[in-house]
Symmetry: C2
Subunit: 323 residues, 2 copies
């Protein structure tokens, strides 16, 4: 099968073997996959990942393992999206429904498990969610990053009267803005890219470049720029006892003055993967439109070009159409 | 009056003028003062403080301003402790009872206001708490650091079934351990000083040196060591979604890898000054004994020697007895 492959040497196309589903797993034929900033970071060495990257996809179930043949009828041909963390199933986190924090987990296209930038992938049946018929592939593929945006509400109580700043107008920053917008709070985004800022303006969301922002004591700041300067700006932008939500992982260490965190009693909340079910709901009800987030759709034969284009600063979401 | 004075040149004794209380303020004759790690940091340049350091004291009201002479009878001669943050009185924080986060605040012996390492100081009447007659000076002087320990419970919900690690066996770390101990939670302290570790053992609190600790997924870690290595250890010691409470300010920036914070969805809570009333309650009811925390008591004429001794690693609380 066609795939992209990532190791210490970077990223390259590969003709890979189609994986075989293990007991409890489905073989999934990828229909559409998306490229995320984490994929670009993996290609630069983040997580020392070796394998097929990609964790945003919509696909259809192509096969189950021989052991699960009895339940095949309910699965084969169904259109699905899939949670990317695969837990051990019996530790305290898995038992609490928090497979995404299982210390033994594999993560689709990120850690210990080949991912979605390929024609086929495998995932446990328990990770899959059926996609409603009226939700098109090119919208369903946003469920994973939208879930990551919704994770913020799993962790902190942002009130409708909260004053919120989002730093970063990248793919995730834009989705976070969309989610916050329907929440009703006072929202401002700091961005650096003309086309993305224009998009925010189109949506009716206030957006300014960093040089035009003057710290105005926000209750919440969401750092989604992935840049150390974004972190410093976030701390300055918060009111005392405010909360900084860290959505970006930086590759490497950064220099941080912790004194303001203590003096201002700032809370920092690291935030990663989120719940799929509400993300599917929002997409299906068209409460989070996604069409204008798609900058380009590449065919499967252009996987590497798609990846290279996704790293350009003007790109928002780059999709790969496999079928 | 005898005082210590701190500026860019370090710390030195000074014969200073007795301050005059302004309207709404009391002149307080210091009876006993304590030396805190923050005072040692100020002497090294932290906060660029210029003035008389010191913010732990018990004293008695010596005078009010001429404008407040009418209410003098209720105040003069009363034994008091005093909250150290002096707010503007009308911003959103002051109105919410959070003077300690007023952006215009002065802070006794730390920022914009002379402190307690002197025979006299001034504070607003609203900052003062009367000291019950049965609470001796040498115990009442612990109210400020004990309030800082209690601040943790103002900010996070540590349950009686939580597993908590305290990093640091300094003055504040020991008080935090005492407060957590009466809370009933599973408690471990990591320390480096034989005499302080022995004290913890005497109290029935488990304590180990860093090299004997193996990360065991704590719900809460309280960083009170003031060392960057303590921060790194804290992140390792936490379970996913655990909470790190930062009680130490480091002078200068530190190098920090933020990826684990996001991946493990760690929460970091900066924590500073706390509520005086419950601290006074605990001290008055003898629920937090303090006698064995006092390493030395110096007379006022030995202010500089007291300060120098307080910087030694074996010192716990060093007090100065003014009267």
């Amino acid at each position: 099968m066609k795939a992209l492959f990532c190791d210490a040497g970077g990223i390259r196309p590969l003709e890979a073997e189609t994986p075989a589903p293990r007991r409890g797993e489905a073989l999934i034929k990828v229909r559409v996959a998306g490229i995320c900033r984490t994929d670009l970071e993996l290609a630069k060495g983040y997580m020392n990942f070796v394998g097929i990257p990609g964790h945003e996809f919509v696909g259809e179930v192509a096969a189950l393992s021989a052991e699960d043949a009895g339940q095949a009828q309910g699965w084969i041909g169904r259109r699905v999206v899939g949670e990317i963390n695969c837990g051990c199933g019996h530790c305290e986190f898995c038992r609490a429904g928090l497979e995404r924090h299982c210390p033994e987990r594999t993560v689709l296209g990120i850690s210990g498990r080949d991912g979605a930038l390929a024609e086929f992938l495998t995932l446990p049946l328990g990770n899959l969610h059926f996609v409603p018929d009226n939700l098109p592939d090119q919208s369903a593929v946003f469920v994973e990053p939208l879930a990551a945006a919704l994770e913020i509400f799993e962790q902190v109580r942002i009130g409708p009267d909260s004053r919120v700043l989002v730093i970063g107008d990248g793919k995730l920053g834009l989705l976070i803005c969309r989610v916050l917008q329907i929440h009703g709070c006072d929202l401002l985004c700091i961005g650096k890219h003309d086309n993305k800022m224009a998009l925010l303006q189109n949506w009716g969301i206030k957006a300014v470049p960093p040089q035009d922002y003057w710290p105005d004591r926000r209750d919440y700041v969401i750092e989604a720029s992935g840049s150390p300067s974004g972190f410093g700006l976030a701390v300055q932008a918060l009111k005392p006892r405010g909360t900084l939500i860290l959505k970006s992982t930086y590759h490497g260490a950064m220099n941080l003055d912790t004194a303001p965190l203590v003096i201002q009693e700032i809370t920092i909340v690291g935030s990663r993967c989120g719940p799929f079910a509400p993300a599917l709901n929002l997409l299906t009800q068209k409460l989070i439109p996604t069409d204008d987030l798609i900058t380009a759709v590449y065919p499967a034969r252009d996987l590497l070009n798609a990846f290279e284009y996704a790293s350009r600063s003007e790109a928002i979401k780059v999709l790969i159409q496999f079928v």
